[in-house]
């Protein structure tokens, strides 16, 4: 029943998207229509450019959020270890996290040029979110588990390795989910600004030359890619949680 409803919605949407522009109820120049997307997709693919653009966006996003997560986790560990720095840096981290890093895209473009600036944006976005989420996760470690290992004489390092880090795996997966989405946004906007390749570039370029079929094709591909990434993490989470059965 639910599945029926979902399919109905999709079909209705596709029909509307196809019919309205064709009937000139909506300007076809503005929206394109589904049956135009497939030829566009094929021509992009045949010219060999499609893969190049997809690769540009995806690779940058993946490198961006992975680097952001690794750096962010290391910083969170540093802050956990040296609490003094955490207290000193806290307000700055809050501001950095609250501020939309997207606003820095033009600055990064001027400082780093067209390729590096996109990586920088993806990393910048991921880093601050990761630091905050992971550090909070560390703080939420069960203090009794820490007391337990202390009674065995555990050193600070052992507490980190044996209790805090393994216990934070759910938080890390949560951060991963957030980062994938945000990094992708950053990369697309970065490509708007500066790129000569990538799906963001295609969207911007297509829009500028009023080739909406190009824009819509790219947007559709983008939707598919982001969904695939999200699903990937979803299954990773399920695999990890199934083994550990977190829900106590």
């Amino acid at each position: 029943m639910v599945l029926g409803g979902r399919l109905l919605l999709l079909v209705a949407f596709l029909i509307a998207w196809e019919v309205f522009p064709r009937m000139h109820w909506v300007n076809p120049m503005l929206t394109s229509y589904p049956s135009a997307l497939w030829p566009t997709f094929l021509s992009l693919f045949r010219e060999g450019n499609l893969l190049r653009h997809i690769q540009a966006t995806v690779v940058t996003t993946v490198i961006g959020f992975l680097a952001g997560m690794i750096i962010g986790t290391l910083v969170a560990v540093f802050l956990w270890w040296w609490n003094f720095f955490q207290r000193v840096l806290e307000p700055y981290l809050v501001v950095a996290n609250a501020m939309p890093k997207i606003a820095l895209v033009p600055i990064f473009y001027i400082w780093l040029g067209d390729v590096l600036s996109i990586y920088a944006i993806a990393i910048a976005i991921s880093v601050f979110v990761t630091i905050l989420m992971i550090y909070t996760g560390f703080q939420e470690t069960d203090p009794n588990k820490i007391k337990l290992v202390r009674t065995f004489g555990a050193t600070r390092w052992q507490v980190l390795r044996k209790v805090v880090l393994p216990g934070s795996v759910p938080t890390m997966i949560g951060a991963l989910k957030v980062n994938v989405g945000l990094a992708l946004v950053g990369v697309i906007v970065g490509e708007f600004q500066s790129a000569k390749a990538g799906l963001g570039y295609l969207i911007l370029y297509g829009g500028q030359i009023l080739q909406m079929n190009l824009v819509m094709t790219s947007v559709t591909i983008l939707a598919i890619i982001s969904t695939v990434m999200y699903l990937g993490i979803y299954y990773l989470e399920a695999a990890v949680m199934r083994r550990r059965q977190w829900a106590r």
Binding site: D142, N144, K145, K147, L148, V149, R150, T151, F152, G153, A154, Q158, K162, V163, P166, G167, V169, R243, R244, Q245, W246, A247, R248
Partner: protein
Amino acid sequence: MGNEPKVELREVNLRHFTAEGEIEALSRVSLRIACGEFVSIVGQSGCGKSTLLSLIAGILRPTEGEVLIDGRPVQGPSRQVGYMLQQDYLFEWRTILDNVLLGAEIQGLDLKAARRRAEALLERYGLGDFIYGFPHQLSGGMRQRVALARTLCTEPEILLLDEPLSALDFQTRLALADEMAAILRREGKTVILVTHDISEAISMADRVIVLSRRPGRVKAEHAIAYPSGGGRRPTPFETRSAPEFGAYFNHIWGELEVHVRR
């Protein structure tokens, strides 16, 4: 062994500071516990019983006074001491076996030998089938047995038990009390059991120490004996039907001054 007490506290004071001010948890507490003795400390909630255990375990320092093990001052956590907390706090992400090995890992013990000990302990407690399982698959009583195995795997001489049975249901509590007492006595461990349950204290221990309300002071000590059982000491369950049980209970109950605040 000999005359020297295994564990000793001399005029121990413990004060700690909170946002509200200074709280005196323990006041001039002196205790001597002989090697192989099974002692229980009872008192109202908040009287400092758990704090006492933390002092012996070396994770807290006394404000004044001395805490000694084998005549030497306690500097920090020691391999001689095993601490069993109120709940099992098993790590959900480790198998049962790896949970039992946690202490051995941290203390850098020979892991092959520790593994053999861990497997033997788990078998003996009837958990042999769950060695490679995870904590979520076990009931509360089983998990607490795993916690006991974890505590014993590092082969401590002194065992500190912080209300280890209070999180369990009544039947499991009785059954586990018998098991634990048997295991610990057989191994000749020195045991300090902290509990608010007087029956538990009287049934398991050789000596019961009553702590007053905060700030905790040693109010009384009772040697527990069951001569009616003949030469053998009755199991904790059996003591409950012994004639001496009731008298001990009433006496200690009176000392605890359990009453609703006026």
